[in-house]
């Protein structure tokens, strides 16, 4: 269906998946991204997922909700999700909109995200239960 460059890349890094969004996604692309990611978590038996949204132009209600859904589904599949790269103006607009990523952990950038996962995943899954989705 789409022949252009990849909108999203999902790369494996050890027991983690690093998913980078490369451009603005519309709703159906967002949903496909969600499906692909959840599928790959199972395939690669990943323990942690980093979603890099630095290239997203906006995170509106649908985008935020999808990220929360991904996080919750990943949690049910035994993986911890952390979102990185939310731009300052996107953060501002999200707050003004009344939107948040809920209890989904976030980190400033990829490095922080990896450090976060390292702490969580390697101290055992019990440590993750602290986060619950409201």
């Amino acid at each position: 269906m789409d022949t252009g460059p990849a909108l999203v890349s999902i790369l494996r890094q050890g027991s983690y998946l690093i998913a980078s969004v490369h451009t603005a996604l519309d709703d159906s692309q967002m949903v496909r991204f969600q499906q692909d990611l959840i599928e790959q978590i199972g395939q690669h038996r990943s323990r942690g997922v980093i979603i890099d949204v630095a290239a997203l132009d906006v995170l509106d209600s649908f985008g935020s909700k999808t990220l929360r859904n991904i996080s919750e589904m990943a949690r049910l599949r035994g993986a911890t999700t952390v979102i990185v790269g939310i731009q300052p103006d996107v953060a501002f607009a999200m707050v003004a909109l009344g939107m948040s990523t809920g209890s989904v952990p976030t980190a400033l950038d990829l490095e922080e995200g990896l450090a976060y996962l390292h702490d969580r995943v390697h101290t055992g899954p019990s440590a993750v239960t602290g986060s619950s989705l409201s």
Partner: protein, 359 residues
Amino acid sequence: MSAGQPADALSESGSQSDVAALVPVIRRFVHSRVSNEAVADDIVQETLVRMLAAAGRVEPGMVEPYAIITARNLIASMWKEQERHRRNQHRIVDLRSPESPDEGLLQQEDKGAVAEALERLSERDRRTLMAHEVAGQDTQSLAGELGVTAGAVAAQLNRSRARLRVEYLLALEPGTALTDRCRPVLFALSGGDRRRQREVDAARHLLECDLCEKLSQPLLERGQRSDGEVRIRIRADADIVLARQTAREVAARLEFSRTDLTVIATAVSEIARNVVRFTDGGEVVVELLEEPRRGVRIVARDTGPGIADVEAALVDGYSTYHGLGLGLPGARRLMDEFAVVSEMGRGTTVTMTKWRQEG
């Protein structure tokens, strides 16, 4: 060669045999240079003819070199000819399309449409227009005749032209049913009168009426479209992204801050999504404002079912699908001004404005 008499005939037959002896030499020479058999044979023949003609003039020992030079010249001039032909070939092609058989008919139809359109104008409008356009009478003298100012005549002429354009387009679409709203909307569009267009709610009518939508294309094209206004058709998911990116681009011309641009894009994303989710189509219009302050106004119109309870829809968490119910209230929080007008069965119009923070 008047000397074709018996005395010469002898010597000529002698030279003829000389020439005949040349044939293999000439053939070899020509065939080694020209690959096409038929062409080569032609050149050999031509060379022989020339040799026969020149036989009397050529010194006995020089016949063979003379023949070879002749053949070479013939080949060279053939190549030159071919090259010239190749270079000029494009000139032969006539790129004008031939007059198609329906052209006359179309012209006749066109004439009929113009006549019919003129017919629909009021007597006074028609007379003034004809006097100005056909007879070349200027507005000044027309004003004198009609007892009004030249400016009024010019305005009237403008209105007549606008009407004429509409009537002409309508005359080309015979047998279509017009609603009582079509003409006023088309007149307003044709005249390029923004205030009048708003009065008759032209934008909404174009969403609802396919005929006017179609006719409005040529009418709007000729008018000077202000580049401070961009219209995006909303039908599918991808249009949401297009709408918010367009809004961002247009607003960026006013040097909004990056944050404000993202805020505007987010609000557009929310309301455009409502159009995609709940209706079968609509549009988002992004417009730059200079008065009373600089800002950007975004109008989203759809032809959906309408919102039964606008007040309730503006409260957080009101959602009719599995959303978060943040669409309208969220967009309202993001923008400076926000208004929703909804009519059941006809559609919804969301108008929102973001002012530029000065200084």
